[in-house]
């Protein structure tokens, strides 16, 4: 009996998009796909230009062991600022993430502290084995700093690193940081350089909002920080979702829902003690919020830590769905996938009502 390849097998693939007419908004404007270089929507806040690039220059001024590498993305990771200030300490490795990571490991072996930059998709997906075996297995002080984390571009799954934290969390020795804003990026750049082991840091680049300045925030590697207190809901958030939940908390306040915000910039090692203490306090609804798939990120890390600690509280998660996401304009996509302030507010109210 022969087994023929069935005609139409390809129909099991993801279906093609259907033809659409252009939507017309009330104002007559159309939202365009965000360019890869687009800065995160500042939402009326003051912004700081290229905080990572400038912090790295400041660091390089006092530390001769700092070197920078990129795989053809210096302009899109703010490393061009460093490259211009310290051309002889900058290595353009070309469009070759594997050798960039391996070479960073080699430079670290010779006593340097390399900062290697690319997009989060390329570091986490393409260069994974090289980060594991050349860097993490020997606990070398290489800092991998990656733009376009989670859903911060409208270019579709090729550029949307929606699962980078899940991939990276499984790697022993690796410290993982997801900063919220320009203030935190600046402080974290110094802190991760001082850390003796490897670090994966998610990066917001270009014009980056200043959000945490008004709270007198200080970044400490491995520490979760209470941004403000509240009696009804405890947000446990990371990355730019902390700015979203801060704004959502303001809106919810006017609806009589009092929210605390616990910011967790270091995903690994997780500050279990602080998370446990806050979650166990007052029996508030605990809601995690992250710019990442629901699989294997902050939400599951916090849930696991709380269950293992015997802290059993009402628990919800705001995260991206376990799907390949659409292309489009970033504000549209954040609304569609639940990361916008409006969507966070709406969902919290619905949870409070039930």
């Amino acid at each position: 009996m022969t087994h023929e390849i069935p005609i139409g097998a390809l129909s099991r693939r993801k279906p093609k998009h259907t033809a659409r007419t252009l939507p017309v908004s009330e104002t007559g404007e159309r939202l365009r796909t965000s360019a890869m270089i687009a800065s995160l929507d500042a939402e009326g806040r003051e912004t700081v230009a290229a905080p990572f690039g400038h912090a790295l220059c400041e660091l390089a001024r006092i530390r001769e062991d700092i070197v920078g590498l990129t795989a053809d993305l210096s302009k899109y990771t703010d490393l061009h600022v460093f490259a211009k200030a310290y051309p002889d300490r900058f290595y353009q490795m070309g469009m070759a993430e594997q050798v960039m990571i391996s070479a960073a490991a080699g430079l670290a072996r010779e006593g340097f502290t390399p900062f290697a930059t690319t997009y989060a998709v390329f570091a986490s997906r393409r260069a994974y084995d090289f980060i594991v075996m050349a860097i993490a297995e020997e606990n070398l002080p290489v800092k991998i700093v990656c733009a376009l984390p989670g859903l911060t571009t409208g270019y579709g799954p090729s550029h949307q690193a929606t699962e980078d934290l899940a991939i990276m969390r499984g790697m022993p020795n690796l410290t993982i940081v997801d900063p919220c804003d320009a203030v935190e990026i600046e402080q974290a750049t110094h802190a991760i350089a001082d850390h003796p082991g490897p670090v994966y840091m998610r990066l917001l680049r270009g014009q980056v909002p200043n959000v945490l300045g008004e709270f007198g925030y200080r970044f400490e590697l491995g520490k979760a920080k209470l941004i403000h207190d509240g009696n009804d809901v405890l947000f446990i958030s990371t990355g730019f979702m902390t700015m979203r939940v801060i704004d959502a908390a303001r809106m919810l306040k006017s609806d009589g829902v009092d929210c605390a915000v616990l910011h967790v910039p270091t995903l690994k090692p997780l500050d279990v003690e602080t998370i446990k203490a806050e979650a166990a306090n007052r029996g508030r609804l605990v809601i995690t919020a992250e710019n990442h798939t629901i699989v294997g990120g902050l939400g599951e890390a916090v849930a696991g830590a709380l269950m293992r600690s015997g802290v059993l509280v009402p628990f919800r998660s705001i995260a991206l769905p376990d799907e390949f996401l659409d292309a489009g304009a970033l504000p549209t996509l954040h609304d569609q996938y639940g990361l916008s302030v409006d969507q966070v507010t709406r969902r919290v109210k619905s949870w409070m009502d039930n």
């Binding site: 290595y91 070759a96 594997q98 340097f112 020997e138």
Partner: protein, 283 residues
């Protein structure tokens, strides 16, 4: 930094060194009753020339800053490198009996954290040459005249990351980088040239911008000349020595066996192989 030669001027010939490396490897294979002995016997001459002619190192100080770095990509060749490190005095001879045992400093696949003189963790192929690029860049930054050697296998030339590193080494003019390819034409599933490595000999490396030499990897004087050429070559090109070796070299009854990646040696054959080697000890 002054370049110093630290190799002792002993009268022991390279042939005697290679013989001792083969013997150490067979003794380790006997301990476990298995091992990548085919590769170790095949590459013993290349390691003898590396450790007793070319490399600059201090046996009692494996982290010596001025040492030439020798990076073993191919983790399963650890048995061969341990054999050479023992002969070089970096590892004590009495640890042979611990090879592959729990708590040994000599695990079956080479790892940096376990073994003095083991620069990197190998085993996931296609990593060594990229790390070598970074170390060669680092040495140049420090104005340290040491060389970085990377021993890789012909099968490893199938890994795309190796070719990223090949291009990068040319881009950065790494004349302090010497790749040593053990070309025994044998990978896990059969001949390497039936897979991806066809045509990966000297002309391909030259086309990428390397100074390439192809030698009989079991011919001691040819190896000496090739290593000397590689170190002394005047251009700013990275250097590669492609060593055509014969699996199981030196033990005719194993050489004659059907060639495989993982040579099967029966329990009683280790002693037989050692006896063959002992009869053939160079003077």
């Amino acid at each position: 930094m002054e370049r110093q030669r630290e190799i002792s001027g002993s009268n022991t010939s390279l042939a005697q060194r290679a013989w001792a490396i083969r013997r150490n490897a067979l003794l380790m294979g006997e301990v476990q009753g298995q091992g990548y002995i085919g590769q170790a016997l095949g590459v013993a001459d290349v390691l003898a020339v590396s450790y007793f002619h070319a490399l600059n190192y201090r046996a009692n100080d494996p982290e010596w800053e001025a040492r030439d770095r020798f990076l073993l990509s191919i983790g399963h060749y650890a048995i061969a490198l341990y054999a050479a490190l023992i002969e070089a005095g970096v590892l004590p001879e009495n640890e042979i009996e611990t090879y592959g045992m729990d708590d040994s400093r000599m695990p079956m696949s080479g790892m940096a954290a376990y073994t003095p003189g083991m620069e990197i963790t190998g085993g996931s192929l296609g990593h060594g040459l990229g790390i070598a690029v970074g170390m060669a860049l680092g040495l140049k930054r420090k104005k340290n005249p040491a060389f970085v050697y990377n021993m890789l296998s012909d099968g490893e030339l199938g890994e795309g990351s190796t070719w990223e590193a090949v291009m990068s080494a040319v881009q950065w003019k790494l004349d302090n980088l010497i790749a040593v390819v053990d070309f025994n034409n044998q990978q896990a599933d059969g001949p390497t040239t039936n897979a991806l490595a066809t045509g990966t000999e000297a002309p391909k490396w030259e086309a990428f911008g390397w100074y390439a030499q192809e030698v009989d990897g079991n011919d001691m004087s040819a190896l000496v000349e090739a290593f000397d050429n590689a170190r002394n070559h005047p251009s700013a090109k990275p250097r590669v020595i492609i060593c055509k070796t014969k699996m199981c070299k030196g033990i005719p009854f194993l050489e004659a066996r059907e060639i495989t990646h993982f040579i099967r040696v029966e329990a009683d054959e280790w002693a037989k192989a050692l006896a063959v080697l002992d009869e053939d000890k160079p003077q």
